[in-house]
């Protein structure tokens, strides 16, 4: 068969895998819904939970589609479609593809198309290098979970504080990350970003100067999102606006993202 990165057979295989993964999600959704009925949980609340989760997911999912479009220029559509429907991310797939291609005189940025062998190498490196979680959860997931349950049975209050600490720890790390370029305000040596551009078919790293205030873009975006969340929190105390509680997070996400457009124009 003549190889092409968009060969119908690749679409078919990626499609089968995506269908299986979709099947797993549907399976667990039904299983959990059944259990919620057995436990006598309020089904109105459950429906609201589904609605909120669905609405909240839209913007991040569109961001994933953008990553697929970017990667598909070199890798074709089926591979990025599969890779970003299962565990993986734009940055991981880019690193994995470039590492796979580096031994063959190819790169993601070059204009030369991939042959079947190069494609196969990329596919194997991408698949194998991120396998850890998929098999490690079946191996140690039950132990970790029963550890948490035992902790909960022994000391429920500390178990709650323990889970909240994990959540807060993760949020604190990402809040810190939002501030990672703030030092551009006072340190001129940090006012550049490295971009990869293509010159004569080869990748060249270029340093592009950025403004001192550009590090404040994520900080201001986060502040807008936080303020919207606080406003939602105040407004939903009114009985008429109680529905806001379900959509507070998606609303603050979308308003924050929208605010990033003028903020970027202003600060960069």
């Amino acid at each position: 068969m003549e190889f092409s990165v968009n060969h119908p057979i690749l679409f078919l295989m990626a499609g089968i895998l995506v269908a299986v993964v979709l099947g797993q999600s549907v399976f667990f959704l039904i299983k959990a819904l059944r259990r919620s009925k057995e436990l006598g949980m309020d089904q109105v609340k459950i429906r609201k939970t589904i609605g909120t989760a669905a609405v909240f997911t839209v913007a991040p999912a569109v961001a994933i589609v953008i990553s697929i479009i970017t990667l598909s220029k070199k890798l074709g559509l089926p591979l990025p479609w599969l890779r970003l429907s299962v565990v993986g991310s734009m940055s991981y797939e880019t690193v994995a593809a470039n590492n796979a291609l580096s031994g063959m005189g190819q790169s993601l940025g070059s204009a030369v198309g991939l042959n079947a062998q190069q494609y196969l190498n990329v596919l194997i490196v991408m698949t194998v290098s991120i396998m850890m979680g998929i098999w490690l959860v079946p191996v140690i997931g039950k132990k970790l979970q029963s550890g948490m349950t035992k902790l909960g049975n022994r000391d429920a209050k500390w178990a709650d504080a323990f889970s909240n600490s994990l959540f807060i720890g993760m949020i604190a790390a990402f809040l810190g990350y939002v501030f990672c370029d703030v030092s551009r305000l006072w340190d001129p040596s940090t006012r550049f970003v490295t971009q990869t551009v293509i010159e004569n078919g080869a990748e060249v790293e270029q340093q592009v100067a950025v403004s001192a205030s550009s590090g404040m873009i994520p900080v201001c975006t986060m502040a807008v999102s936080a303020v919207v969340m606080i406003l939602c929190g105040l407004l939903m105390r009114k009985p008429k606006l109680k529905w806001l509680s379900e959509y507070a997070l998606p609303i603050s996400l979308i308003v924050g993202m929208a605010a990033a457009i003028p903020l970027t124009a202003w600060l960069s």
Partner: protein, 221 residues
């Protein structure tokens, strides 16, 4: 109590079957490509590529598993480690659902709620991606419009601003110290940026647990 155990046991049994099954299918994809196009890998380049990629991401994967499983719950973990996008999508989604329903992550209700949220999010993500793949030709000029780029570049700050307010306000006693530490580290250590935030999550989580333990022992919580 008996029934309670059996639900959790069945989640682990089903999760193991699904995850191992999906893993085998994922590994069969390269085999199928090799057979369909009658080609073998370039072995030398493959070894170079794997050595450059796998050790680091396996280490990250192992740390992520230990950190995220207690937060995601059982069903949520099996799903999340197949469908990915954990810290930017699945976990915030589960946290928001737990918050909205006022249930503890350690209760069976919490397990059910987080599984429902994560499964819904996975289904919606997969469907939107399918739609995006089908409509890629008309969508490309819209989604790659320069005017929209900043919005998608700032998706994490926009997400964690709202999520931060919701969670920090309810747990401010344990949140103050780790937030200060992370701010100082990220502002003053140049090596910490978008590519290293994943490594800082377990560091920050361990530090927060230590702070919470001290506060708990002193009866402040």
């Amino acid at each position: 109590m008996k029934k309670n155990l059996s639900y959790m046991d069945s989640v682990h049994r089903d999760g193991r079957i699904w995850n191992i099954g999906v893993m085998i299918l994922l590994l069969l994809f390269p085999v199928a490509v090799a057979l369909a196009f009658g080609v073998l890998p370039d072995w030398n380049a493959l070894v170079i590529g794997l050595l450059a990629t796998a050790p680091m991401y396996w280490a990250v994967g192992a740390i992520e598993t230990v950190t995220f499983v207690p937060m995601l719950g059982a069903g949520g973990s099996y799903l999340s480690f197949v469908t990915g996008n954990i810290s930017n999508l699945k976990l915030p989604c589960a946290l928001n659902a737990l918050e909205q329903n006022q249930v503890s992550a350690n209760s069976e209700e919490g397990e059910v709620i987080s599984t429902i949220a994560i499964a819904t999010s996975s289904i919606v993500t997969t469907l939107i991606i399918i739609l995006g793949v089908i409509l890629i030709v008309p969508l490309t000029p819209i989604l790659s419009a320069p005017v929209l780029q900043p919005a998608f570049e700032q998706i994490l700050p926009a997400l964690f601003g709202g999520l931060g307010v919701a969670f920090v306000s309810k747990n401010w006693k344990i949140a103050v110290a780790p937030i200060c530490l992370m701010l100082i580290l990220f502002v003053f250590v140049p090596a910490l940026d978008a590519s290293t935030v994943g490594i800082m999550v377990p560091v920050s989580a361990l530090f927060t647990i230590a702070v919470a333990r001290i506060l708990y022992k002193r009866g402040v919580l």
